[in-house]
């Protein structure tokens, strides 16, 4: 049995209340969402918050909806809700494809979108997806809220733009009619973190790529994206040769380090190979194949 260090616990009654509690308890307080990142770290005593502010009662942070030309996910939407959402599937196949390979059903039942974003693990799958779709997040504090593009959200591994007495309340994604999307992940075993994942969308219009987004996780790509590869593809026909060339640029955007998941050369290769595979499927989907 793992034994975390002593900690206190309180259930927030509203977002405002949670923020007030964060202000009251200062640096040593932490938001508790699904707990699937925070609790394992506490059990190993890597994290030792003195106060846990549980936001599981906050219905205002739940729900998936369309608002104008955006998909809006509350911070407390679970992985499972993303996986099973007909609204998200209707617009992007990539949500379902990514969620199918995130963790296992137990983790997906409780782990949340907000928690994943705020955890900001360098191998977080939703970070690749968010970067690919150029999503935004809404961050709230006691004086109001602001919107931050996901491609500016991460300050480094496990570090985000969410400040000490702030909360992430929503994640938003632009709707792109005609876009095809796909997710590719290599893991050592089902339920494991990614050795590398690539999530992409491609909009093909009149035989050329009108828009695209490429997200990469676990390979050290800055802001989980590959902008040079995207720029290269715009205006080009989605031929195998062009997709390969773009994938090569995605590989160049990665800067992996060696660890037990694999050596850096392999991960770089995967960034390229998985981007190519995802682009191929997404382009085909956009063209109605």
């Amino acid at each position: 049995m793992q034994t975390p260090a002593p900690t206190d616990y309180v259930r927030a009654t509203s977002v405002a209340n949670a923020i007030a509690l964060l202000e009251e308890h200062g640096e040593e307080a932490r938001i508790l969402a699904g707990g699937h990142s925070l609790l394992p770290m506490m059990k190993l005593r890597i994290a030792r918050p003195e106060m846990l502010i549980d936001i599981n009662d906050l219905d205002e942070l739940r729900g998936i909806r369309v608002e104008g030309d955006e998909l809006v996910l509350g911070a407390m939407v679970t992985h499972r809700e993303v996986l099973e959402s007909p609204i998200l599937s209707e617009h992007y196949a990539v949500f379902r494809e990514a969620e199918k390979v995130i963790a296992d059903p137990l983790v997906r039942n409780r782990g949340t979108v907000g928690g994943s974003m705020c955890q900001a693990d360098p191998s977080e799958d939703l970070s690749a997806l968010g970067a690919a779709l150029r999503g935004t997040v809404v961050i709230q504090n006691s004086s109001g809220s602001r919107t931050v593009p996901l491609r500016e959200f991460h300050e480094g591994p496990y570090e985000t733009k969410v400040g000490p007495a702030e909360m992430l309340t929503e994640v938003r994604f632009p709707i792109r009619p005609g876009a095809g999307s796909a997710y590719e992940k290599v893991e050592r075993r089902v339920g494991d973190w990614a050795v590398c994942s690539a999530g992409v969308f491609v909009t093909v219009k009149d035989g050329v790529v009108a828009d695209c987004g490429i997200g990469l996780t676990a390979v050290g790509a800055e802001h989980f994206c590959a902008p040079d590869a995207e720029a290269f593809l715009i205006g080009k026909a989605p031929t195998e040769e062009n997709l390969r060339a773009a994938a090569k640029l995605a590989g160049d955007a990665s800067d992996p380090s060696s660890d037990q998941r694999g050596p850096a050369d392999y991960k770089k290769h995967l960034a390229e190979e998985l981007t190519f595979r995802a682009l191929t499927r997404a382009a085909a989907a956009s063209q109605g194949a």
């Binding site: 002593p6 190993l44 005593r45 290599v186 075993r189 494991d192 037990q260 694999g262 190979e273």
Partner: protein, 815 residues
Amino acid sequence: MTAVEEVPISAAGNPIGFGNMKRVEDQRFVRGQGNYVDDVNLPGMLHSAILRSPFAHAKINGIDTSAAEALPGVVAVLTGAALEGIPRPSLLGDNFAWMPTLSYDTQAVLATDKVRFQGQEVAFVIATDRYIAKDALELIEVDYEPLEPVMDAKRAMDPDAPVIRDDKGQTDNSITDVHGAKTWESGNAIGTAEAIAAAEADPDCVVVTQEIMYPRVHPSPMETCASVAQMDKVTGQLTLWTTSQAPHAHRTVYAMVAGLPEHKIRVISPDVGGGFGNKVGVYPGYVLSILGSIVTGKPVKWVEDRNENLVSTSFARDYHMTGKIAATKEGKILAVDVDVLADHGAFNGVAQPTNYPAGFFHIFSGSYDYPNAHCKVTPVYTNKAPGGVAYACSFRITEAVYLIERMVDMLAAELEMDPAELRLKNLLRPEQFPYTSPTGWVYDSGQYELTMREAMRIAGYDELRREQAEKRARGEYMGIGISFFTEGVGAGPRKDMDILGLGMADGIELRVHPTGKAVLRLSVQSQGQGHETSYAQIVAHELGIAPEDIEVVHGDTDQTPFGLGTYGSRSTPVSGAAAAVVSRKVKDKARLVAAAALECSPDDLEWELGRWKVKGDPERGKTIQEIALLSHGSLELPEGVEGHLEAMTVYNPPNLTYPYGCYICVVDVDPGTGQVKVRRFIAVDDCGTRINPMIVEGQVHGGLADGIGMALMELIAFDEDGNCLGGSFMDYLLPTAMECPDYELGETVTPSPHHPIGAKGVGESATVGSPPAVVNAVVDAISPFGVRHADMPLTPANVWRAIQGRPVRVDLAVE
């Protein structure tokens, strides 16, 4: 394959004898009502936690426990220095800081001079609850002076390598066995060298050489190790509830370590949540809970967490092997030679029979007919956790089978011959049994070709090869891997085998109550094998008493006779035989009682299941239940026959039993990512008589999952600073149902001629036999890229690197 004997069915619907029967123990397990060590809670019980070394190799300059002792709730803090101060009235040393291992080495209970592996026990906190004990660990200050860690067995052999066991006055890192030898050899060194040299010089022969690493893995039982010690100061009685696969052997070791009188020690292993060899050794934690109870006068519970289990308890394998196989170009194997560097970690804690310092590795000549085989094994100390015989390895037969089955596949590739054909050419033939192997084993029985052809039939082998050829033409990479294994299990004959001087024979007692219900007392300890069911079936088979009328008692040294425990697949071969023999003793006595009651000569009686009857007058007879009552009643018994109906025996196996099997694995490999998908797994086992086929299949299923795990993902590696890189289940990957296909099982039945019921043991067969099948399949799949060998675990990265021709050392940190 073989027709199942008709067995009568009991009132409860169970076979009165062999056959499928649901496991009795599952009634409590599926209800969540098992009783594990952590479920033991005694009045006034204290809890504990162990401070472990963050360094793999460091000098300890001092330990300050004062802040921990001051924490409210902390009762005591023990250190190595404190233990050195407690005199020990025993033959094995003069204080409690060190304890003997099962291989005549010493191991620190708490480090005194140095720490020698990351995770080594440094201090022991006893407190009123588990959380306080853990909190107190953070308050202990240890002044470490880091030393160069030796994480590579090859580096350990360097003359300038740091000496790990300076406590023993060693000047190098070699391990000396009880006979004073630094290497251990078996087989015919000269004949093998000559045969290989001749083959090298002969244009009609080939020799294949390969370095093969069987990396370090961990058994990872679901229940971690734990103990509750209760020392009664008034009576001097020590009761220890503990996670042990061998309660009797442990009791004797505690008597030696603690200098306590053995009759005052009671070891209880309640339900044990998986062992796989992890719970054979005696760990410092167990000893510390005993010392804690002696010091505090209260019961003390120690329960390891997952990280502690992974980093500090008995690992398995860590064998660096170099194999050489010689054969004719027609595919007749001529000789095999193996050189092994064996990494034993910081203390030599392997748990194998004394005369076999490399376990049963020398069974590596395998299932094939050739005259020359030789191995040389050199064990070394490194700064890694101790252990070495674990994870269902049959005393290192896992390594042996992996070596020979990889070498045979490499030979097939060299000869461009189908690996099935090559095996069929060389398998031992039925008329060769009993077969004396080149390294001296006497295989009892086998019909190897029959078994192999059955596996090929289930697999549709030829069709698979056709499919593979078609796929290759399309650029798809499918692989077919075969493994044919022979194990020697059931240690063992007293004349050859002991552990710490304790012979490996098993006692057993059977008592039939007046109403004909029975209780069987076993020395072996179940960790999931289903003993409570199979042993009742053995007695049922012999005496005709329904299994539900037989209580099987095990896991308590006060209630069971002496024996060495459950590991190395020894329960059925040894204690299973004992159960049959003791039942026959009861049956023989029952005959005398029946004769007295029927007023005839015992010779006039013949046995039918459950009843002695008069020859030629079958209506006249007495059932075993009637005889039980008569035995306890007023019937006048013949001269020399005592009342009651019970017997005991000690079974000394005349030889090991030799289960074997043929496994075929089919994989698909994605060469762009290196991912392996195990598509099919065919396992045909011949374990002799099957007592409960359902339990046999369960054992095989579990073992196959183990093998797939080891082949594809499980690994305990270390970085150069000595950090263990497999300390959690996020890092040490175990397979899930998603990685395991629907197993296709088959059987042949070749009973052991010397075992009373012909059973051979099957607990480890699948773990032993499956890794080479998976690896052979993966290598077969990627052979078009020129790959002949790749070391486990075949993670996507390692497969991809093998395809690129960039193989890696798997046991060190990935670079």
